[in-house]
């Protein structure tokens, strides 16, 4: 089920009630686990079998990995687990894509081959829970942490419904210790959680679905070359839509968990205020970028094997990061562009050591992909910082074209429309749509810039209570007035 549905509201109310009953902690955990399975099965019941399979296999393989003294056996177990987890992901997510590419390849070699089109349904959230279980298995192999003793705790770690289908991607040390002792939210935590849920739904339902989806879809579904203004408005609309959609989901997830007394890691920190691409990846889908850093970039060698290998590792990480988002070459190009931007940043830094890096002192846990940051000369004055943030936002928008366009023809046509290579392009968007996109984009950038070193609950706490009440009311009134319910979150398809 999705957070923006009546089903979830009823489900959540029941869960809050059950979780606050005077029951033993183990019973509450069982309640949470059953509820998490119901949450998942309410979308497509048969796919819950996959979730069970992944949970059981990784629990037992994880324990053996940790305790097994024989090196070869441990490697074999790791390979079995990786094949199991990644095999399911590859089959369901990339099966059709691989078959299509194989068909193109053999036909290009002169062999006529036309297989039947497979009809594979992508299980919701498979990319997310696969990464959750993978990190556990790899940690067990490397003996980074102790195995989870209880199957109940492990199952709940994998399945806990707030993060199950679209993250944040959690690591065992972030969540499992929270299952060890009884947790319920106190009054303040509950209200903070509800505020975050309201904010997340406002971002998703009002801003992403109600205001920005229509102009973005109109522009990106067009088969014609467009007027430059329409093309830019469409891209900006998508830029806002995907942020509000995904960050809205993460905010809801964190809020829902908070209402139950749990803490999930932050997933977005105002990414459109990023100064540079390493900063962007500190702020956008943080738990994925951290996962890719720890389980892909660093094992590849990170920046420890010289500049050239660092560039290659960055590119490999971003290419695979792109492919993680979807089985299409457009996502690979999207990842490649981000990889290129990161490489360019690193190159500038290496070229001119005097522009020493300015460490980000605000974020408690630096999780940049490569540990690089924007050159200092671009960060000395607030105004130049802001210009650099705008420049970064501009480049990010260019990458979104490949992310959203259904194919390369559409992407090139869109880029041509954006950069003035089209004359007399089609005019599609109404003045109202343009006004909506402009107001929301300016508001979004201003908010991101103001909030870039702040946290929403910190700011909310400092506001006079009646101001917070008014803002909260406005969000809920607009949310209810939108009457947009149950539309899927974009990231569910990843």
């Amino acid at each position: 089920m999705v957070f923006n549905s009546y089903t979830f509201m009823v489900f959540f109310a029941v869960m809050l009630f059950l979780h606050n009953l005077p029951l033993p902690w183990k019973v509450k955990k069982i309640n949470l686990l059953i509820a998490s399975y119901i949450f998942y099965a309410a979308w497509n019941p048969p796919f819950i079998l996959l979730l069970w399979l992944a949970t059981i296999v990784d629990y037992f393989v994880g324990r053996r990995l940790y305790t097994e003294p024989n090196k070869h056996k441990r490697k074999l177990l790791l390979i079995i687990s990786l094949i199991g987890n990644l095999g399911m992901l590859v089959f369901f997510k990339y099966g059709t894509f691989l078959l299509e590419n194989f068909t193109h390849l053999v036909n290009a070699m002169g062999m006529h081959y036309q297989p039947a089109k497979p009809n594979i349904i992508l299980p919701a959230g498979i990319s997310f829970y696969t990464f959750t279980t993978l990190c556990y298995t790899i940690d067990m192999y490397k003996r980074r942490s102790e195995p989870i003793r209880s199957l109940l705790d492990f199952s709940l770690f994998v399945t806990f419904f707030p993060h199950l289908v679209a993250g944040p991607i959690v690591r065992p040390p972030q969540l499992v210790p929270q299952f060890e002792s009884p947790r319920t939210a106190n009054h303040k935590q509950l209200m903070q959680g509800l505020l975050l849920v309201s904010l997340g739904l406002f971002m998703k339902v009002v801003l992403a679905d109600s205001m920005l989806a229509e102009p973005a879809n109109t522009v990106f579904n067009s088969k014609e070359a467009l007027n430059g203004l329409d093309a830019w408005m469409g891209v900006l609309a998508f830029s806002g839509q995907i942020f509000f959609d995904f960050a809205g989901y993460s905010t809801c997830a964190i809020g829902v968990a908070a209402c139950l007394g749990f803490v999930l890691p932050e997933n977005f920190l105002y990414p459109y205020a990023a100064t540079g691409f390493s900063d962007f990846w500190r702020r956008w889908h943080i738990t994925l970028s951290a996962w890719l850093r720890d389980y892909l970039y660093i094992p590849l060698g990170g920046n420890r094997k010289g500049a050239f290998r660092t560039y290659i590792n960055l590119m490999i990480t971003m290419l695979l990061g792109g492919l993680w988002h979807g089985a299409n070459w457009t996502f690979v190009v999207w990842g490649a562009l981000h990889g290129f931007y990161l490489m360019a940043e690193k190159f500038i830094q290496d070229l001119k050591p005097k522009y020493a890096l300015q460490e980000n002192t605000v974020l408690e846990t630096p999780i940049a992909m490569s540990g690089i940051a924007a050159p200092r000369f671009l960060k000395t004055l607030p105004s130049s910082n802001f210009l650099y943030a705008l420049f970064t936002f501009f480049l990010v928008n260019v990458t979104w074209v490949f992310f959203r366009a259904p194919d390369f023809t559409s992407a090139w046509r869109m880029l041509a429309s954006m950069f003035g290579a089209v004359h007399n392009g089609a005019v599609l968007l109404s003045n109202l749509s343009i006004i909506k996109v402009c107001i929301i984009t300016v508001g979004m950038l201003a908010t991101h810039w103001y909030m870039r070193n702040r946290r929403v609950l910190g700011v909310a706490e400092k506001l006079p209570w009646w101001v917070l009440g008014l803002i909260w009311s406005a969000m809920l009134i607009l949310l209810i007035l939108s009457q947009e319910s149950s539309s899927t979150f974009i990231y569910f398809q990843f």
């Binding site: 309410a42 109404s430 009440g469 007035l481």
Partner: protein, 350 residues
């Protein structure tokens, strides 16, 4: 005691939100606005799931908007004892729905197909997009979506402001008088709220205000003119029409082979709309042809004095008082002339 600013803010939020929506609801009711249901894919799928009811107790209706206005469901159910399952979709071709029912081995019931020629014989992919989407939604709807629909139904039963087409945030923003952007496709004035409020059985009933107010009626006739002026559909040539009829024939044969009953109905239209339809879709080339090719019976409103005289307020759909008369006669014709059997006899129950 509420010590946290979050708690106090939460209480204030509750008071403001409740006050706002109570005020908004009262305001709308004072304006005479009545309960209406969101006639989207969820409501359609809810009705689609009912087509498996016993053939002697239910009739399925597919087509375009005329079916939704002209069939008075309460009258139909009272007269025939049959459950009327309305699957027509306004502004669209019924052919994807026909194909879906034909492919469904479990559907063996009675089917009434409304023929609005401009949509029925349309070659535009736009006219099959929405029905295809709804069929796909029905097939893929999740348990969570079904439950949300049930909750939404309870809320819509009691709240006027839940009206997505006319009272949602976007619909309200559309009311702001912002100049049109040159070259952008846009409806002249939108569809007035009084024209097509939909009930839970998916029947559209014009409001009293619409029936009386010629200004609002002209707003809708203006829409029809606009649609005609912007239509870029290629004219359906004879070959294309023949191939469409061949597909329809196959679909109908599948239903009939399972014991189902099918009939075509040409619902009333009037004034310049009817004149335009006669010119654009001559009866011999379309209506007669589809009956002859498929071997299915048809009821054309012009063939029956009891239903040939209605004046549609906006030339295309019946007001409710006429819909009642039309429905009574339709049921009688079906029983008397076409040999359809119902749970109750429309003739004796009238």
């Amino acid at each position: 005691m509420l010590t946290s600013s979050f708690s106090r803010a939460g209480i204030l939020m509750l008071i403001i939100v409740l006050a706002f929506f109570v005020g908004w609801e009262i305001h709308l009711r004072n304006k005479g606005i009545k309960i209406a249901y969101d006639d989207g894919e969820s409501l359609w799928a809810d009705k689609r799931a009912m087509v498996y009811e016993a053939a002697d107790k239910a009739t399925v209706f597919i087509g375009s908007s005329r079916n939704k206005f002209d069939l008075d469901i309460a009258t139909w159910q009272k007269l025939t004892g049959d459950h009327a399952i309305q699957l027509a979709i306004e502004g669209n071709s019924p052919l994807p729905v026909l194909a879906d029912l034909a492919a469904d081995e479990n559907f063996k019931g009675k089917l009434v197909i409304d023929v609005t020629e401009g949509l029925f014989f349309s070659t535009s992919p736009k006219n099959i997009a929405e029905p295809s989407k709804r069929v796909a939604y029905y097939k893929k709807r999740t348990p969570a979506q079904r439950f949300s629909f049930l909750v939404n139904h309870q809320l819509e039963n009691g709240l006027v402001f839940l009206n997505k087409d006319h009272l949602s945030l976007n619909a309200l923003l559309e009311e702001i008088p912002i100049p049109r952007r040159k070259g952008v496709f846009a409806l002249p004035n939108g569809c007035p709220m009084d024209f097509n409020p939909c009930n839970f059985e998916r029947q559209c009933i014009m409001t009293d205000r619409f029936e009386k107010d010629t200004t609002i009626q002209k707003q809708v006739t203006g829409l029809w003119d606009f649609y005609r002026s912007v239509s870029k559909d290629p004219p359906a040539n004879a070959a294309k029409t023949d191939s469409m009829i061949a597909i329809i024939h196959k679909d109908i044969d599948k239903i009939k082979a399972r014991g189902g009953k099918v009939i075509f109905v040409r619902s009333p239209s009037s004034g310049p709309y009817w004149e335009g339809e006669q010119r654009g879709f001559p009866r011999a080339l379309y209506w007669e042809k589809i009956l002859a090719t498929t071997g299915v019976n048809g009821i054309h409103f012009k063939d029956y004095p009891a239903i040939d005289h209605f004046i549609c307020p906006e030339f295309s759909h019946l007001k409710q008082s006429d819909a009642i008369v039309y429905t009574q006669n339709l049921a009688k014709i079906l029983e008397q002339e076409k040999g359809w059997k119902f749970a109750k006899s429309p003739i004796t129950s009238n």
